[in-house]
Symmetry: C2
Subunit: 195 residues, 2 copies
């Protein structure tokens, strides 16, 4: 049986990324964001939605740049902590022990411990309600080479221990069910599909 619920935010699972912003040691901050995703493949574009009262909001509005840092099981506690504490009261970099590295294409810092950091420039800010959506161009992707296969050059993101967020809980990724396209592969080998 089905129940109808009032409108709500029920798209899951989502990433729980650490967004870094602020181009100086004084202003740099970290903010945990699940309202994020890809909006266009070419050009590569993405968004983050941030509530106006949040400390990072004015930094984003002033600098119009941010970096999306993917998070891992090892970073789960820091990810959660940056989602419940404010940069007004804490130096989140110092408190979490995450290592800031000066960006390459943007002024803000990226997280050394993150397997993938995505440098973005805001193109448009859309005022929606509780949240403003920052629509951005991807300028650069910084990848930890420990996840790059030395033989093939392919990114083995499955080794990074990424985490997902679903309806108030954080999870590891579990069993692989198959590659994109596995359902139309002739071979009966499960998960044998290739993009």
């Amino acid at each position: 049986m089905k129940q109808s619920w009032r409108p709500g935010t029920m798209i899951y699972p989502l990433p729980a990324v650490l967004v870094s912003c602020g181009s100086t040691e004084q202003t740099r901050n970290l903010i945990t964001v699940a309202w994020t995703g890809t909006i266009c493949s070419d050009p590569a574009m993405c968004y983050i939605s941030v509530q106006r009262p949040r400390y990072s909001h004015h930094i984003l509005m002033e600098e119009m740049e941010f970096t999306i840092n993917l998070t891992t099981e090892r970073m789960a506690r820091a990810t959660d902590w940056c989602g419940v504490r404010s940069g007004r009261e804490y130096d989140k970099w110092r408190e979490t022990g995450l290592t800031p590295v000066k960006g390459q294409m943007v002024g803000c810092y990226y997280i050394e411990e993150s397997p993938v950091s995505i440098e973005c420039r805001v193109k448009e800010v859309v005022h929606l309600g509780t949240h403003d959506m920052f629509i951005a161009d991807v300028l650069n992707v910084i990848v930890d080479d420990r996840y790059i296969d030395a033989q093939t050059g392919a990114l083995r993101l499955e080794d990074a221990g990424l985490i997902a967020y679903a309806h108030g809980h954080y999870y590891t990724l579990g069993r692989e069910l198959g590659h994109f396209g596995f359902s139309v592969r002739k071979s009966p080998k499960k998960g044998g599909g290739r993009r």
Copy 2:
């Protein structure tokens, strides 16, 4: 060591939802979408990004409504299949065996087998590049009551077997790492945080 890659779509893990659209038995279709997410909490708003050449694109443009159906391990093969096949050539409902149920607040059908279906009305279409972003209001959330705790009324989405998509692979969700807020709970009990 870090490597810089050219701009790309590297935000993961993402949901791999089945979007249903089309309000008649002749036009109804299913499309697999990972470029989706929440963009505002209140009012509840979300988006899907769809390539213009895809068969569903003109249905979306004409009817300006769609339903986001969350997908599960049982639906993984159908989800992948709907991502590589076109509604121009197949009746995807018939081929996948998924059960169409007429929507409540929108004309399109939702998937009976989906634990959560989110009915949406398009508010704006933003032309970006390869993809158009359909920005939408959430009108209604349809929940399978087998995942609703009879005692508390809470949604036990963790029992639904949701799947995630990351860099060309589908995964189950794995181990729970904690509730939102677990990092600031006084109790040492892991995952004891409450929103």
